[in-house]
Structure formats: C-alpha cells, structure tokens
C-alpha cells in the first residue's frame, strides 16, 4: 500500500484529473452587469458577443494545469464588440482583491470575424488582450498589471489612445503579416514598453505615442532581423543620446538590428491633441 501511494505521488505531475470548464457562445449574446468566468468562455465562429458599458468581467483564479498562469479565459473566433465609456468602462479582471499578473489567462481573439474594444480595462492577466489573424480596433483602453498588456501577430489593427502601464511588456508583438497603425498611446512604467519579438517588418506603424519611463522603452528580440522604425514618437527625453540608452538594439548588442527613432517628438503630444480614427484605418 505504501508503495502504491508513493508511486501515485511520483506520477502525480503526469496525471490530469480535472477538466477546465468550457462555455460556448454560438449565437448573439449581450453581457452587462457582473459576469463571472470560471474556466473558458469560447465565442465560436457563429457567435457574437456584445459587452455593454460598465460591465465587470471577472475571471476566477484557477490553475488546473499548474503552470503558474490562471486558466480562465475569453476565447473569441466569432465577433466581439466591447462598448465601454469614459465614465463606465468595461473591466476584465480577476476575482482576487489584490491584483497581480497571470491571475487569469487572456482575452484571445484568434481567426475571428471582427474585434472592437473601446474604453475597456484589462488587469492582472497573463496577456490582457491578444489579437491574431483578425481585423480589430482597440481604443481608449487601459492595460495594467499584466505580463503582456497587448499582444498581436498577423492582424490588421488600429490601436489608439490606450494606456499601457505596470506590465512586463506594454506591447509585445510578432508582426509577421500584420498591417496597422498604433498611435497616441501612453506606454509607461512597464519593464519593457514595446517588445518586437521577431518577424517585424515595419508594416505596423507606431507614431505619436508617448513611450517613456519604461525599463527599456523598446527592446528588440534576439530573433528579430530587420531594422525597425519608430519615427515621430515621444520618449520622455529631448536628447538623442539619452533616448538611445532606453532602446535595447544594435547599440547594446551588435547582433541585434537597429531601431530608427528619428525624428522624435520633443513634447508629449498626448497632452495637446489626440485624433483617433472613428473605426480604425
């Protein structure tokens, strides 16, 4: 008997007893008030999810696979429309009183029909929002206390006037076959403001953003090959030599490509004028 118990103890990491609960949305559904997600909510390709202003989407902190990342997630392959307002934002958060990164997994939009997020707050996730293989608009949102605030690859995106703060990476991306504009965002107090991991080709334009006071404002991934362009952004400094120190590129490691950030803005444009396009570009 003792031996049997011992064997079970040894094999425990290789056994999986529990299943993550899954709820599927196959038609149109509207959320408002408080919505609790315990496990996975999947919006199937026939589904459409509308989230109204002031809604709190609360992810239960569970970690069945024991990987240190919460398992609760919202996974979208249909359509999602998040209509928060300045006074009544939609909030995506954990059920914990103290908010820490990775308490829930992500809002993942993947091979979806369309994604629209306005005045939403993403906090305490592994990735606040991920968009892949989808056209999406992300405006006036806040990404805070996540590992990755906003993450994308191969997507057509318009990302405007968002705040990314206190994340490990404000924006993490593998551009691949993406197109888009990322403008008028305030990216500050992250370990890394912008993290182009690999396969970035300057087809997504970063302009008029304030990228400041991050551990590194930009850090280029070790597998990125092409030089990158971040023209017309504000880096919190007025001297080129000071800005260079905040960008981890060829200047820090000769194997990395260069980040071209000139001309750069000498004033924080976000304090004067923000002109987000109505429905993306």
């Amino acid at each position: 008997m003792k031996f049997l118990i011992f064997l079970i103890f040894l094999l425990f990491p290789y056994l999986s007893f529990a299943q993550i609960p899954v709820k599927e949305i196959k038609n149109e559904e509207v959320w408002q008030g408080k919505i609790f997600i315990d496990g996975i909510v999947a919006v199937r390709n026939s589904g459409k999810l509308i989230i109204k202003e002031g809604t709190e989407v609360i992810f239960k902190t569970i970690d069945i696979d024991d990987d240190g990342i919460g398992d609760s997630e919202l996974y979208v392959e249909g359509e999602i429309y998040v209509y928060g307002t300045e006074n009544f934002p939609v909030i995506f958060t954990s059920d914990k009183p103290v908010k820490e990164p990775s308490q829930w997994k992500y809002v993942m939009v993947n091979h979806a029909k369309y994604a629209y997020f306005e005045h939403a707050i993403f906090e305490s996730a592994f990735s606040g929002l991920q968009i892949h293989f989808t056209k999406g608009v992300v405006k006036n949102c806040i990404f805070r206390s996540n590992v990755d605030g906003f993450r994308f690859s191969t997507a057509n995106i318009y990302v405007c006037n968002n705040i990314m703060t206190k994340n490990k990476h404000g924006i993490r991306y593998e551009e691949r076959d993406s197109k888009g504009i990322i403008e008028y965002n305030h990216i500050f107090d992250n370990e890394i403001g912008i993290f182009p991991v690999t396969a970035c080709y300057n087809m997504v334009i970063f302009q008029y953003n304030a990228i400041e006071k991050n551990g590194y404002n930009i850090k280029v991934g070790y597998e990125q090959k092409k030089d990158l362009t971040f023209k017309n952004n504000y880096f919190g400094m007025v001297f080129e030599r000071d800005i260079k120190k905040t960008i981890y590129d060829k200047n820090h490691d000769k194997h990395l490509p260069k980040v071209n950030f000139k001309p750069f803005l000498k004033k924080n444009i976000l304090r004067s004028r923000i002109k987000c396009l109505e429905n993306g570009y």
Binding site: L10, K135, S153
Partner: protein, 335 residues
C-alpha cells in the same frame, strides 16, 4: 534508500520511454535493398551514433533520443559501392519519423595542383547518370547551416552539368547541390526538386588544389510510407469552401498541442485533389488538433486558405479508432 532506488528506477524508465522511432526504407532505383548499412551520424558528421541494417524488404528501424542527426546508407553489390543520404539531413528528432533513403553510385574524385593559394572545386552534377542543367552547388561551413545561408554558392550548372567554385579558403566544408523547380535558390525543397550531397562530406579542401568531383542527385518525393508504418489511426475528411464545394491544393495537419504552429505537426496529409479529400495518419490514440492550410511551413499569411476542425471549440478531435467523414470549411485569412 529503498525509495531512492525507486526514484532512480522511475527516471530511468521515463528516459527509456522518451526514445523516438525512426523507420524508413532504403531503395536502389525502384527496388528495396536488403542488407544495406544505415548509419546515424551526430549533427556535424563526425561520430557514428548508431548503425543498423535493412531487413529483407529494405526497411530499417532505429531508436533515437531527442537530438539532431544525419542519416546515411551504404551498400556494396557486385563490386560496386552505393551511398545515399536522407534529404532531411540534418534533422531534429523530437518525434517518430519515417525517413526514406535513395542509394546512388559512389563517384570517385580527382585532385590536381593549381597555382592559387586557394582551393577550387570543378563539379559535375548528375541525375540518373546524366548531366543536370540549372542546379546550384552550395558550400557550407557546418552541416547545421545547411538549411540556412551558405558560405559560397555557384552559378547554375551548364548543359553539361558543370559548375565551378573558386577562391575557396582552405578548410573543411559540406558541399550540397540543389535545383528548385520554381527557380529560387533558397527555401524548403518541394516535391520534384533535385538534391544531392557530395558523397565525402565533410571534406577538407586544401590550398593549391583543384578538386574534380561528381555529385549525383535525386528528386525529392513525399515519403511514401507503407500503411502499416504510417500510423495506428487514420482520419479521412474533406476540405470544402463556404459554399460546400471541395477545395483542392490544401494540406491537412494534426498537432498534439493546442497552440498550433508552436511545434512541428504530428502528421501532414498530401495536398488535396479536386475532390478535396485528405488523409491524416496518427501514431497513437489521443487528442489531436486538426485543420487545413494552403502553404506548408511558417505562420499562415493573409489571403492563405485556412480552416480548422469546428466540432469542438478548440478544434480537437479524440482519436481511438479510424475516423471518416470529417469536414473542414476553408476561408481566406483576413479577407
């Protein structure tokens, strides 16, 4: 102490379980070769890791740990020596594979003195014993670079299959020849493209010497694995467009991991024909994530025809028997 022994036994067992089976067949022309040596070299072709012989139907079976290897086969018959290389060399083993090897006659090389301080290679590229025009010879510093950028490459071979590489800094190199039917120099080989290895790789080319070498090539074919080796289970399905019409020219794939594309697929079908039908062969029962796509390798791109199995929210299918009649709807990405 008794528990310590058990722990050691447990990890030894786990280690034994994580070997991968490499199966394949050695062919000479159209006939399988019995008794051919199959050698497994480590990544840089220095040491032989394992060796076996083909059975009477030309099949071999090897068990390898995870790692990077090269497979070479040698055979002697009626005083003639044959040598063959896997077109997959060097390949990363982290799952079980089928690797076919085609034997080619072993060609000797000649060395002459030259008056330069460098080495020169004058080569002839053959296919089925005849000159191959339009092939390119590539020189690599190490075998692991062979799927990346070469140190040097030649002009395409002329109508006599000739190429020349001059000004080679003396040293050890790997020489490889390729001819891609789409005309490009780089990128993965497709079915029908030509490939050949210098049969003495890696070779030390010395200064003041000109090497006259012959490189026989073979055509890359989709490894035609016999049914009993393909896998324990088969999934048969059809790729259709949004109007329900069969889609040709797409591959079906099966992954073990939900995050598609983060590792190699367990199984890939042949390209669908006009009937849109695909077949996937799976090595064991379990959960697989299934889809179809237009292009092989890399991340899907905008406009690529792509579709996922939609009967489960995360596109998985449980396999514990052969499965038929699954349907996957294909759409163009981001269009």
């Amino acid at each position: 102490m008794r528990y310590l022994k058990l722990i050691l036994l447990f990890f030894w067992l786990i280690q034994e379980v994580y070997c991968y089976e490499i199966k394949g067949r050695v062919m000479l022309g159209d006939r399988p070769v019995s008794g051919a040596n199959v050698k497994v070299y480590e990544e840089n072709y220095k040491d032989i890791i394992k060796e076996t012989q083909t059975d009477k139907e030309g099949y071999y079976l090897l068990e390898l740990d995870e790692g990077i290897y090269n497979l070479v086969s040698e055979f002697e018959e009626k005083g003639k020596i044959y040598k063959g290389f896997s077109g997959k060399n060097p390949f990363f083993v982290n799952e079980s594979y089928y690797v076919g090897i085609k034997l080619l006659p072993l060609y000797r090389y000649k060395v002459q003195k030259n008056k330069t301080k460098s080495a020169i290679i004058v080569g002839t590229v053959l296919f089925n014993g005849k000159p191959l025009e339009g092939a390119t010879a590539f020189l690599y510093l190490s075998m692991k670079d062979i799927k990346g950028m070469p140190y040097l490459y030649s002009q395409p071979t002329d109508k006599n299959g000739k190429f020349i590489l001059k000004n080679i800094i003396p040293g050890e190199y790997f020489v490889v020849v390729r001819k891609k039917n789409n005309g490009s120099l780089f990128g993965p080989l497709e079915e029908g493209d030509y490939m050949g290895f210098f049969q003495y790789n890696p070779f030390n080319f010395e200064m003041n010497k000109t090497y006259k070498i012959v490189i026989p090539t073979f055509k890359k074919i989709q490894d035609e694995m016999p049914l009993h080796l393909k896998g324990q289970y088969k999934i048969k399905g059809i790729a259709v467009d949004e109007g329900g019409r069969p889609v040709s020219g797409v591959y079906a794939f099966a992954y073990k991991n939900k995050e598609l594309g983060h590792e190699r697929p367990v199984s890939i079908s042949k390209k669908t024909g006009n009937d849109g039908v695909f077949e996937l062969y799976l090595p064991s029962s379990g959960k697989y994530y299934i889809g179809v796509r237009e292009f092989y390798g890399g991340t899907p791109v905008q406009g690529e025809r792509y579709g996922l199995y939609e009967e489960s929210f995360d596109h998985h299918i449980i396999v514990d028997k052969d499965i038929e009649n699954i349907k996957i709807v294909v759409k163009k990405i981001l269009q």
